[in-house]
Symmetry: D4
Subunit: 157 residues, 8 copies
């Protein structure tokens, strides 16, 4: 479902994290939401990151998901360059169990919020993006309701 007109951009700071990050894309796909996945680093490709955000906005991206480990600055940098909602996913790639990444994602100063989900919560980033887009698109919300029903079954023993 990754198409020419993505509504969600899924960004990750390192190619190593792609397997985990692709779970966000899979959730979006399953909900019929077009997305695109990019490796962009706040530290190694800062200009490209800023450029990408402006360009993605122009192409109609409405929600950004930024995933990174260690000091996760990616979500904050994206949030500083757009006024659209930015979801941050702290990745638990280090010794410090993801606490470093969690705190560097969530503790943003007033005016530049990052909607933070759990450590390694890539799937929930997809679900949160869907809730946001569902405000304008009742079909998405209907699909979320279906997922919830199925989840209920799985969680009833």
């Amino acid at each position: 479902m990754s198409t020419a007109n993505p509504r969600v951009a899924v960004l990750t700071g390192s190619p190593n994290d792609l397997p985990r990050v692709e779970k966000a894309v899979a959730v979006l796909d399953s909900l019929g939401i077009a997305s695109e996945l990019r490796v962009l680093s706040a530290h190694r490709t800062p200009h490209e990151t800023v450029q990408y955000v402006a360009d993605a906005e122009a192409r109609g991206v409405q929600v950004f998901i930024a995933c990174a480990g260690m000091a996760n600055h990616l979500a904050g940098v994206v949030a500083a360059h757009t006024l659209r909602p930015v979801i941050g996913v702290p990745l638990g790639s280090t010794n410090l169990s993801g606490l470093d990444s969690l705190l560097s994602t969530v503790q943003m100063p007033p005016g530049v919020p990052v909607a933070t989900v759990a450590v390694d919560g890539t799937r929930n980033a997809g679900f949160l993006a869907a809730r946001i887009l569902g405000l304008q698109d009742t079909e998405i919300t209907a699909r979320l309701a279906e997922v919830r029903e199925k989840d209920k079954e799985r969680y009833t023993l």
Copy 2:
């Protein structure tokens, strides 16, 4: 700006937290977003909370902001009863510096995301709600852009 047709519901688990929580309302007011503020507790008034969420949705509330200290279950309970975006604000009311509240807000299981902001980040909860609503209402985004410009001035010395 708290009106008959609120688009954002700001909930808090305890009357003691109202002074901090009112900062979220103030941000929303300043951006021209109608909101309503309620004290509702996941633990003391669980039925009322569930009832309120259903009712608020029916009245057109699009984003929920849930603020609580200690084990913050409020945001999670709200997220379990709506498919609209829920923003969680961990309040740092205890001995444990808000770490208890942060972890109990952000570490949600797949399918039930809470968009978590910083410990005591009530103002950012307002800004995040505005970014979400701005996807449907360019006036809100325009006002966010104005705030950003003013912030730039304040932060340039």
Copy 3:
């Protein structure tokens, strides 16, 4: 010993946690205490959870044991819907070593206590339930005394 008239309900938030949670049931079985085991999620099956608690109370369940990882809201939700004792077991299923689950289980507000045991302390949840039920049933306490004697032998080298 899981019978038609269980005195303890053992709940867990996810089928993945069943192997650990079954240790609570095994302890109860070994002490002759009838129990029942259910998968119920505070977030995915909130209505079923609330319904279950009311129904279980009516059927004579006296103690609830609620086990969950990440943000463990299950114990708190159960405690909000019953006035019987609720034992919470934080499960250490995540990156954050169970600290998230511990703090979200134990840091309950006044009036809604959760009797929290150690991270992954499912066996102790069974022993704690037995101590509580032993107040009305001296046979249970007698069996606990036997276990204690055997433990003494095992721990004397």
Copy 4:
């Protein structure tokens, strides 16, 4: 309501902690549960503590509440000398925000459970004792239900 036939013993490791610990007694009093309050230290008066536990049991004490700061060993020592339920309250008296006390109270080995409540959760210790005693005494549960109703009013704005 501290009478000749207490059903709950409230213990604290240091006279300095009495003001906080008295909140547990106040909750028990308000629920019509007779209790007695003692200063007993796992480390300074270990023999007296062990003696007291045996004696209190003989006099009919059914639930023990043990409150202490720093390395809280009091609850564990009491739990090792009785088979009745022991509630541990970590007190946040030190630099380390009560994390030391929380972990030393809750992380008990299998067979010797301590029902741990929040850091400084003395009031909840009283409520938890009441839930346990309410299993045998429906009047206590009725009073808990009244408190819950009043709490609902306080938490509905």
Copy 5:
């Protein structure tokens, strides 16, 4: 000693932090090192920050000191836009005792190092800059040696 040809740029994310940050300038002044102090925010004035770094480098700034609280992204952003040494000072401005700021400053990915000093270690940031510049300017090292001698006296009782 803040002159037209500063060799060190001292940056801070917020005007509120100026009193603490000025201690870095005071240390540099006392060692005869020209510096300049700017308020620049990675999140509120990202373009200005990037622009400033390029400009400062062109004017001869050799070391950057970046101070910020909460999620300190400032040091990382500066390090991403220069190849000169960047010293990061985590400020302990929040509930979380500066742990958030420490981890978000120090946990940088390979290739983009931030030389991190203690929480609120603004004075040591000045001393570290002096050690770095002393490699090219023996007078600075001579002054550091004097400070060390005086410190010895102060710390000998």
Copy 6:
């Protein structure tokens, strides 16, 4: 070197920890210090523990080493029943990386000190006991000096 007249008692709370605890005995053996190793639990065999401490003192034990994981109360209990030096070794057997055990060992109240070494620092417990006994026995100190010399060689590359 475990003989009829041990000068050091090495205690551990669980048979599972014996492999790690034996490293303390090995260090003592290598330094020619007679010791004895016992499994004794503060919680499962409290009377035996207290009895053992009194008896060991009478037989000439001069230093106690107490090793335990989770909530390590063993060292504290021993320290409460002797006036001889007690060395505590927190074992990192749980999810919480030994932080639980470290804090419950070291955070003792005034008057009842436990000489705490690193998490899993069983070897250092042996070395610390040797330093203490070396004050009365210069041969032990001479052997420690030999170990130090050998260590220097191993650590010089």
Copy 7:
């Protein structure tokens, strides 16, 4: 009781910490143990520290107590230069609640143990030194027994 022939050296890394450190001296005084107090810094006066340790040993000092905040290296440095017992006291002088100081004091490598007491546990450092010296001097142990008796009274209400 600070005399010409001190048996305990009490060292602190900074003059600011003297009020807290003097509590160790007061405990030693009250037990009739001669001590001396010095300000010596592992970082500012390293040569003097090493020199002092050698000299103090020659003069008959048997136990060293080293108190410091932040990264407490003082105890480790002293332990590296003597084979006598070294007691480390982490001081909680910073933002990080003494966790920095605790971990940097206790986590010593094999062969160089530091007998660590609680954060700000200066009084217990005195009591631990007394237990160690009491092995050779039964009068000290007798005085410790008196203190313990008095403590029992204070802790029995």
Copy 8:
């Protein structure tokens, strides 16, 4: 590139850590910076460490990199004996995930700074040394710019 005239000394507290530490040397080699690698322990070979620092300085070493796990005192000891820049690398070798090592490296007192990089950040220690030396040697900075360009390619997908 480890030659007779090293400009960087890479030190590690234990031979066990050599594999990780050699990554710092590899980075320096790749940037054409001569270095030398030594095993030196703040605790086991303190005199040799101090001697080495003085000697290395005399031979022209300009930057020291000190790597150690547990209580990392090595970087601090080196910083106390030189006025040249010292980079500290906390190694995550223990149970405590490197938090012990991070805090004991970074929390240095004013006047004795250690430029701390991430837990296990040996490669970044090399890059930081290169930035410092690049201030005097534009060829090093040119090579850093090349690395950065290559990194950009790797991080653009």
